[in-house]
């Protein structure tokens, strides 16, 4: 689209990855668990192993939900930016293709939230 502005635009991208002090922004959403209202945002080092994302980042936030302890992690279905994917747990976020402002969604088959309400 042609830019419509009197004097053009100043080229500012406020959320460049360089502005996050070595971190990148990662969004994580637990599907069928809307009790959390939205995907959650985390600033994380790209070198963080995927396993650490699960145990150190997701667990403290999502374990509040009674379904969390029932999760069979081997059966979890993952999506990265809209595509199904299988994370390699010992590899970094970066090597798993998780980039700045990516959205990771996980579905936990059989677990449908508080009393099956998808909350």
């Amino acid at each position: 689209m042609a830019v419509i502005a009197k004097d053009g635009y100043v080229d500012i991208v406020r959320d460049k990855v360089e502005n996050f002090h070595g971190n990148q922004l990662v969004h994580v959403c637990w599907d069928d668990h809307l009790l959390f209202s939205a995907a959650q945002a985390f600033p994380l080092p790209p070198e963080m192993p995927f396993q650490a994302l699960v145990s150190e980042v997701m667990t403290p936030v999502f374990s509040y939900h009674p379904d969390f302890e029932k999760i069979d992690w081997a059966a979890v279905e993952w999506m990265l930016d809209g595509e199904a994917f299988t994370p390699e747990m010992d590899k970094s976020l970066k090597d798993n293709g998780v980039c700045h402002k990516s959205l990771i969604r996980f579905k936990t088959p059989g677990l449908m939230g508080i009393n099956g309400t998808r909350l």
Partner: protein, 505 residues
């Protein structure tokens, strides 16, 4: 012999059109540098029909009379301790959101119209914008004066303008206003005067003012009356500018239509905050968000666009989705406020049994099925003492800046709606097709968005912990959190002896 007294029309012409001239020392394009780059073609500014034939002296007179009445009521409200006649002190959460979220938009509108009042080439349009600039400043001022009485007795009302520039949920109205202000003058006026004031303003003012009346807030009601005649003038200006642009040149139609699509969606998303105010924050709600939407948008807005179809203008894009969302909007917004109630400058509270029954009645297809379970779950947790606020920060939409809480209401209301775009190698997340379209059309603009969650993570908001950020917002510890057990609640109980309206936690 000339008449001693000019008739109104003649006077009006002399005092508006007679004040402008064709410049000769400088090129008109240098004197009015802003009104052509947007591509709107105006062939004859004299065809501008002033929507309200008002001269400045008559304007001052009318406004002064209204001010006199308003300040008399404000004084008597203060002298008679009017705040004790409220339905409940929890109602003030709506007022706190209003003074921090809406009043600063009035000021932003004042700035925008002052700019237009200088930069439109047509003198008739300039004078209309100058008056609206003064109206908006007056609204901001009278709102501050009206609501400052509550600041003597309740928390959370102390720094609305400072907070408007910083707080996570106030970036929603701020970005809306600044989006319009950073556009050209024709887009600004299409956004504020038409999309917001003509098409949607009733969604804000009518429920809010009648909500105030339903909850014993006579100060706010009086402010509403004082602003009402201004608002109808503003609406007329909005309609006039649209017709003027469309009548001036056929090339203007696609530009105006795109602005209409964009600013309808922007304004509608902003009103999501109002939906929560209306259905949840008002102790007594005069009408539900959905009822208001059906009357003011579906019926009145539908008739308006039918009228405008002779100019080739169609209904704004995604209006069907907005109508489908009417069954869900307020519940989703209030849910996220309750979850993040440790980071709000007003008190949150769960709906009472009585309120939930009202919601079931007003939202028979959705409330019991999708939303009652979460409020009951949280109520149970509060009873058990296991309720916890969210410890993470939510994903935000790059355009409307609201946490991405909206769902696919047309196909699966429990599935969050995710959209994303790429621009210069970076990803940008949006909450809906409406916001994604806006981003994709002008990514160079929205890539600059100051998103509160991202700014916190970049270390620009006072620190990395919630208390540090709240301090940076100038939120005092007593401003937010649950209403039950708050200082406001305690004060109210002291005055009233009891509190029936909000369920004990």
């Amino acid at each position: 012999m000339p008449a001693k007294k000019l008739n109104l029309r003649k006077r009006y012409e002399l005092l508006t059109r007679g004040m402008g001239w064709e410049t000769t020392h400088h090129d008109m394009d240098d004197v009015f540098p802003y009104d052509s780059f947007e591509g709107i073609k105006i062939t004859d500014w004299d065809k501008w029909e002033d929507p309200f034939r008002l001269t400045m002296d008559a304007y001052w007179k009318f406004q002064a009379e209204k001010e006199k009445k308003l300040y008399a009521v404000i004084d008597s409200f203060a002298q008679n301790n009017g705040q004790t006649n409220l339905s409940d002190a929890s109602y003030l959460s709506a007022i706190k959101l209003f003074i921090t979220g809406v009043t600063p938009i009035e000021y932003a509108a004042h700035r925008g119209f002052a700019h237009l009042g200088r930069h439109f080439r047509g003198d008739g349009a300039r004078v209309a914008c100058q008056m609206q600039a003064i109206d908006e400043l007056r609204h901001q001022q009278t709102q501050v004066h009206t609501i400052s009485h509550y600041n003597k007795h309740f928390n959370g009302l102390h720094d609305p303008f400072y907070q408007f520039d910083r707080v996570w949920y106030l970036s929603v109205p701020k970005s809306f206003a600044e989006d319009a202000m950073t556009a050209g003058p024709f887009e600004f006026i299409t956004s504020i005067s038409f999309a917001f004031e003509y098409v949607l303003t009733n969604m804000l003012f009518v429920p809010f003012m009648s909500g105030a009346a339903y909850n014993g807030d006579m100060a706010t009601v009086t402010f509403g009356f004082s602003a009402q005649s201004d608002e109808s003038r503003h609406m007329t200006l909005g309609l006039e500018i649209i017709k003027f642009m469309l009548e001036q040149h056929e090339d203007n139609l696609p530009i105006v239509q795109r602005w209409m699509d964009k600013h309808f969606w922007r304004a509608y998303r902003l009103l999501a905050l109002v939906s929560a105010m209306q259905d949840y924050m008002l102790t007594n709600s005069p009408l539900s968000w959905k009822e208001a939407w059906d009357v003011y948008f579906v019926e009145n807005g539908g008739a308006l666009f039918e009228d405008l179809s002779r100019y080739g203008l169609r209904m704004p894009k995604y209006h069907e989705l907005a109508t489908a969302e009417a069954d869900h909007l307020s519940h989703q917004v209030w849910s996220v406020f309750c979850l993040l109630g440790n980071a709000t400058g007003f008190h949150t509270f769960l709906p009472t049994e009585e309120k939930m029954d009202w919601l079931s009645e007003k939202y028979p297809d959705t409330f019991d099925k999708y939303y009652r379970p979460r409020f009951e779950h949280w109520a149970k947790q509060k009873e058990e003492g296991t309720f916890k606020y969210l410890e993470a920060l939510p994903q935000l939409c790059q355009v409307c800046q609201i946490p991405m809480i909206f769902t696919e209401v047309e196909t699966d209301p429990m599935q969050l709606s995710f959209r994303a775009s790429e621009y210069k190698g970076d990803k940008y997340n949006t909450c809906s097709d409406g916001c994604k379209d806006i981003f994709d059309h002008e990514p160079e603009k929205y890539a600059q968005a100051w998103l509160p969650v991202h700014q916190i993570f970049q270390g620009n908001c006072g620190g990395a912990t919630i208390p540090e950020v709240l301090e940076w917002y100038k939120f005092a510890p007593e401003d937010g959190g649950d209403y039950i057990g708050s200082q406001d609640h305690a004060r109210w109980q002291e005055w009233k002896g009891t509190d029936k309206k909000v369920k004990e936690a």
